[in-house]
């Protein structure tokens, strides 16, 4: 019994009959009594790895995976745990709106306006009402605008459905932004936190619908402007911010959300270009 075995090159030359007569005879003598090397010959000829023999190619791939594969972000892992397939979770997590700086900015703004509202100043409540529904819609716009998502052009010409990508990111953003808006809404005295949700969903849906005509950032600016004018005019008429969250207006936000979503789904199937940048 010996620990010596035919080396890989010699074995391949023997299989390929490209070795000398003396080398060939030597390998054959060894193969007569060495089960392990016979298994290696079998593996080399059939392409199946021999039992007990280390597959160096596979091992190298595993090493490279350990070194090269980027570590999934916390958010990506959360999405996977929520049941999203790994590749979809990766696509959603890439959106700019999930970057730390952006989230910190959103949290800062909401903290500021919630504090202003909590202090009892009517202008603070007005401010929270104006800002809260716009946070998710601006986040959605930021998640797929070419100015913010610099890789959008190569993304756009892949077979992955753009509509699905936008919807996945929107749902993920709503999943993060709406609870945040509701949470900060708790600090606003006298109003249930869920009353902020429908205006927010309505604004997001309107941005999506408008983005089938123009860039998502422009859509977000337009929706924000309209929302601020509506809030301002309603408050100016009634003298109190409460009217904006009244039940009849909540139905209006729901209608806006449903209508805009339908428009987006119908038109979004045919959209294939974002507005080109002027050179």
């Amino acid at each position: 019994m010996t620990s010596w075995h035919v080396d890989e090159m010699a074995l391949r030359r023997w299989i390929g009959r490209s070795d000398s007569l003396a080398d060939s005879a030597s390998v054959e003598q060894h193969l007569l009594w060495c089960d392990q090397c016979r298994e290696r010959v079998n593996a080399a000829v059939t392409g199946r790895p021999a039992p007990g023999v280390v597959d160096l190619g596979d091992m190298w791939s595993q090493i490279r995976d350990a070194v090269e594969l980027p570590r999934s972000s916390v958010f990506e892992r959360l999405l996977q745990r929520a049941g999203l397939p790994a590749h979809d979770a990766k696509l959603v997590a890439v959106a700019s709106a999930f970057r730390g700086k952006w989230l910190a900015g959103v949290t800062g703004v909401l903290t500021f306006v919630a504090l202003a509202a909590a202090l009892g100043d009517s202008r603070g409540v007005w401010l929270f009402l104006a800002v809260a529904p716009l946070v998710p819609c601006i986040a959605v716009a930021f998640s797929y605008d070419p100015k913010v998502d610099p890789a959008l052009e190569p993304e756009l010409v892949t077979p992955y459905p753009a509509l699905r990508l936008v919807l996945l990111r929107t749902v993920a953003i709503l999943g993060m932004a709406l609870p945040a808006v509701a949470l900060f809404g708790l600090f606003v005295p006298g109003r249930a936190p869920y009353t902020w949700l429908l205006p927010a969903v309505g604004c997001v849906a309107a941005v999506l619908a408008l983005s089938t005509w123009t860039s998502s950032l422009r859509a977000a600016v337009a929706v924000s402007a309209v929302w601020l004018v509506v809030v301002w005019s309603l408050v100016a008429q009634a003298g109190s911010p409460d009217v904006v969250l009244h039940a009849r207006f909540q139905i209006g936000y729901l209608v806006l959300a449903v209508t805009s979503t339908v428009i987006f789904l119908v038109r979004g199937r045919h959209v294939r270009e974002f507005r080109p940048r002027r050179r």
Binding site: V67, E68, P70, L91, P154, L156, T158, P159, Y160, P161
Partner: protein, 293 residues
């Protein structure tokens, strides 16, 4: 059937300006170069071929599929590699992470197979050794090669490249030419560039665009041949020349519309022929080849 791309009467308008007008082309496997001055419509044409834009008028057909039909457009995108002129990268990504991300969008859902393909294309552009490097720490040339790597995923039958060698050093350019030449055995490769030497080294065919119109569409050798007898060296710039510049030897290279006798003629290059084509006619006149012949 040979895979092909055809454009019939294609035009694209941005506002009131036509970036591309009445373009008729047929492209087959091989490398086709796209030359033209800034604003000639090269990028618009490439974006049309890459299904990133739709034509204002006319018909585009890629591998027998119509990009105006959503299902067929997806079919084209499955067979397409596209390198845009300007490409940004998501912040904080490594080279591997970026190509892996695009591979996911290109429907490579099996991680092991996808990672192997990502490594293959990174090796092709000689970035395999620095695949974990952050993109923001990469040089301009490395970023350009990374952008090219994502286009090469899956060895697509149609490869649309907008200035693939911009900012890439000469050694890497030569290596990239080999990669593209190999791919062009079976694929349709269309590349736009300002580097006439890239076209001369790589392309069998060249299309010259000017003001959104096709000024020349044919063999590179034929275009170069049209400049024979019209390029010469002299000790001073020649007033008869339509273009003249000082070379590294201190002598002047002159290019003129009409053949000159009694001068020291030299072998024309594609750049000479391109300059002749551009200078040999007004931008709004007819077929330049008639002027040159």
């Amino acid at each position: 059937m040979t895979p092909s791309i055809s454009l019939r009467g294609v035009g694209r308008r941005f506002g009131a300006a036509w970036a591309l007008a009445d373009v008729n082309l047929d492209l087959a496997p091989g490398v086709t170069g796209l030359l033209g001055p800034n604003g000639a419509g090269k990028t618009t044409l490439l974006r049309l071929l890459a299904t990133a834009l739709s034509p204002t008028r006319g018909q585009v057909c890629v591998l027998g599929l119509d990009p105006a039909v959503p299902a067929e457009r997806t079919g084209i995108r499955r067979r397409l590699g596209y390198l845009p002129q300007e490409i940004g990268f998501p912040r904080g990504f490594s080279a591997f992470a970026f190509v892996d991300y695009i591979a996911v969008l290109k429907e490579w859902t099996q991680p092991a197979v996808r990672h192997a393909e990502v490594r293959r294309v990174l090796d092709l552009v000689d970035l395999g050794g620095i695949s974990t490097k952050r993109i923001r720490a990469m040089s301009g040339g490395q970023r350009r090669r990374l952008a090219l790597a994502q286009a090469l995923l899956g060895s697509p039958p149609v490869l649309i490249l907008d200035e693939p060698t911009a900012g890439v050093d000469p050694e890497q350019r030569a290596a990239l030419r080999n990669v593209l030449a190999e791919l062009a055995r079976t694929s349709i490769v269309v590349l736009s560039t300002h580097q006439t030497e890239d076209v001369a080294a790589l392309c069998e065919r060249v299309i010259v665009l000017d003001c959104g119109r096709v000024r020349y569409n044919g063999q590179v050798t034929e275009l170069v041949g049209r400049a024979a007898g019209r390029v010469w060296l002299a000790d001073a710039p020649d007033v008869a020349a339509s273009a003249s510049w000082r070379t590294g030897t201190g002598r002047y290279r002159n290019v003129a519309e009409h053949a000159r006798a009694g001068v020291e003629h030299v072998e024309p290059s594609l750049e000479d022929a391109y300059l002749l084509l551009r200078g040999g006619t007004r931008p709004d006149s007819g077929d330049v080849r008639e002027v040159l012949s």
